[in-house]
Symmetry: C2
């Protein structure tokens, strides 16, 4: 029945991890996963510096705050370092927002914003997803 | 250099999500991801009921506590519902434990235990991984 909405299963594009300070964390996650990060990118509008690792089947994104009061800074102040969000890859982010809104899901931002790694992104509100911060992301062509 | 330790990149076997009560959450995540769960399994030794979804490139595991004082119950009491752990698939869990211990990582349990979905599992301590609870899991052949 649900298959009528989505033709194929969703794909985890990446998992986001909030970290306090990138230098030591970047090395530690490389040791943990046995692979060096392949790029680092600042997203000034989101107040964040991102570091990406390519795994066999998905990516890991480390997130370091660039400024006090940024979303990552607030997250770490409240909860400490740790897993921050799960990002699903979608082909058409606006269609997916409409589909999920019709199902009762709430969004932090309904208007897609430019994120790291050449993506349009938006976030569902964790209060509508059992505390899980869910990102949707679509490649910017 | 790190490639000398691991011949291929690691693979995310699943992402674990702690939930308070399974019935409503099971339906909600099916709506979110457009796929029904494919199985539910109790792991009495861990005090947990698990619900699995197969996505395009990995799995999602919902975790509901079966008893007060279980690890999932404690997690929810402290942090609320949300993302609980990231699980990496490994071919030889004991070799991987030795590799990571030599790198300075700490474990919650160094002796693999039987987990859900026919796996040997062990957990690294989040204090050695920037607050991320990391599971290693190996198929029980």
């Amino acid at each position: 029945m649900l298959k009528s909405f989505i033709e194929k299963s969703m794909r985890i594009e990446h998992i986001g991890i909030a970290i306090q300070e990138a230098t030591q964390a970047q090395t530690l996650f490389a040791k943990l996963m046995g692979v060096e990060s392949y790029k680092s990118e600042e997203v000034v509008e989101q107040g964040v510096c991102t570091i990406f690792y390519a795994l066999d089947n998905t990516k890991i994104e480390l997130l370091q705050s660039l400024a006090p009061g940024s979303p990552i800074d607030k997250f770490i102040q409240k909860r400490g370092e740790g897993i921050h969000h799960i990002a699903f890859a979608v082909d058409d982010i606006r269609a997916e927002i409409l589909r999920l809104k019709a199902q009762g899901f709430q969004f932090i931002n309904e208007e897609p914003q430019r994120g790291a790694d050449q993506k349009w992104i938006c976030f569902l509100h964790p209060k509508s997803t059992h505390g899980v911060l869910v990102e949707l992301c679509q490649d910017i062509k």
